[in-house]
Subunit: 273 residues, 2 copies
């Protein structure tokens, strides 16, 4: 059973996992160094624990303790209980529903290992997305619509970054993912695993995504927020596909969707029976 510890000072060294969350750069190095990430709010904490991530500690307030009892009881990790004022002082932002957990990362599978798992047939590949909120939203779409796995390019934003975890509502724990070690030949691994590669582009001369004849294994490639997919991946993919835009929209210059909207439509099209 978890040890419940009352903490009265925001500068208590046992809370160092949770401090200075506002300092993005420091945070990045801290997370990489310690191999930790944070889950925020009861629902997301439950999903992280259910997915098997080891808990380092939990930080919560007296009000929230009872609601978490069933989750905390089996834990070995310490549970720090602090006042509402102190929890915000520590984290440097209003903590969603008064509960934060610090969890340890686990080793990711390689893309090839993940792609070889039984049942992995529909995959999303994210190339160099920079916005953590977008990555979280796309994981939420992928999980809700039944995509089997996500592959990240080497430089794609981290799905376990706090904002990505939060926006995904914990979907980053629900869907397995892997990170490529190399970008230039990244698609070769997908092909060697028997996946048809489909590059999503705004180019309206590409095949409409709603009318594809999909093979047993298909991977949809999504590009970064500003520039879309690299020309390397567009060129290397088996097929370029597009979401058809209306003629009026093209006239008006509203000729693209944001990456989350495009991902949602693409996942829906990819998963249709």
């Amino acid at each position: 059973m978890a040890e419940i510890l009352d903490v009265t000072g925001a500068d208590d060294p046992r809370l160092s996992d949770y401090t200075r969350l506002r300092d993005v750069e420091l945070r990045k190095s801290l997370e990489a160094e310690r191999g930790l990430f944070l889950a925020e709010g009861e629902k997301v904490i439950r999903r992280a624990i259910a997915a098997g991530y080891p808990v380092r500690s939990v930080l919560t307030t007296p009000r929230r303790l009872a609601g978490l009892a069933d989750v905390l009881d089996p834990l070995e990790a310490p549970v720090y209980v602090v006042s509402d004022e102190i929890v915000e002082g520590i984290a440097g932002f209003p903590v969603h529903r008064g509960a934060l957990a610090s969890l340890a990362r686990v080793a990711l599978p390689t893309p090839l290992d993940l792609l070889a798992r039984p049942g992995v047939r529909r995959v999303l590949v994210l190339e160099d997305l920079v916005d953590h909120g977008n990555v979280g939203s796309i994981f939420r779409c992928a999980a809700a619509l039944g995509v089997d796995a996500v592959i990240l390019s080497p430089r794609c934003a981290d799905p376990l970054y706090r904002r990505a975890v939060k926006v995904s509502m914990g979907a980053v724990f629900a869907i397995p993912y892997a990170r490529m070690t190399e970008w230039y030949n990244g698609l070769a691994e997908l092909r060697s695993a028997g996946f048809q590669t489909l590059a999503l582009t705004p180019d309206q001369s590409a095949a409409p995504i709603g009318k594809l004849d999909l093979g047993p294994r298909a991977a949809l490639l999504l590009g970064s927020e500003g520039d879309g997919l690299s020309s390397r991946w567009l060129h290397e993919a088996d097929q370029n596909v597009c979401i058809p835009m209306s003629a009026t929209a093209m006239d008006l210059g509203v000729d693209s969707l944001n990456v989350v909207a495009a991902a949602a439509i693409a996942c829906h099209a990819l998963m249709r029976p």
Copy 2:
């Protein structure tokens, strides 16, 4: 031709349209009182002017003036040119691409007038969305995918609020919209205009949205971020429709999409040939 005026002080009273943008409450009353709204960045300003909104004034920096020359030349309104430092000091935030325009709102059509326009066959109806970013993103989806018009519930967030305009990339100018005066009987107007009303719900017993038999005129109803559609509208609609979630997702508790992802899929399904 627009008058170009150098302004050297952030407290110049001629700049009052642009000051204190950070104060949300003040801003709201100011915009309602003066009937103005702001467009940010060259592309969005161009779209607002092209859509016929009267320009009150433009605020820009010396660097950006040349790029806007063709837009500013035909204007009657004053163009205030200030240094980069002053423009941020006035607005209270980093101004996207160094250009802001203050424009006058125009009278909206009534929902009935809008629904009676020739060519209006596919409509989105937004009930009480609170997040301006979501409203902007949904307008962008609707415009890109060819939805003909948007109807807002009385309490739905304002599409001309600064963040909505920005996130929409100007799509709020490209797609006509109207606001209901009454919520409770709002759907009666849609029906009287001959529109089939489809209520989007996460309830998986509703009809899958990809397989609908749509009539000549169809309106898709989207609910607010947290709670979805009101029970009143769900009950009043001709049909409830859902985006099918994967069985795995339901088991894992990732059982819904955010409203922008849902809107994107719904618009795509609504507009398919």
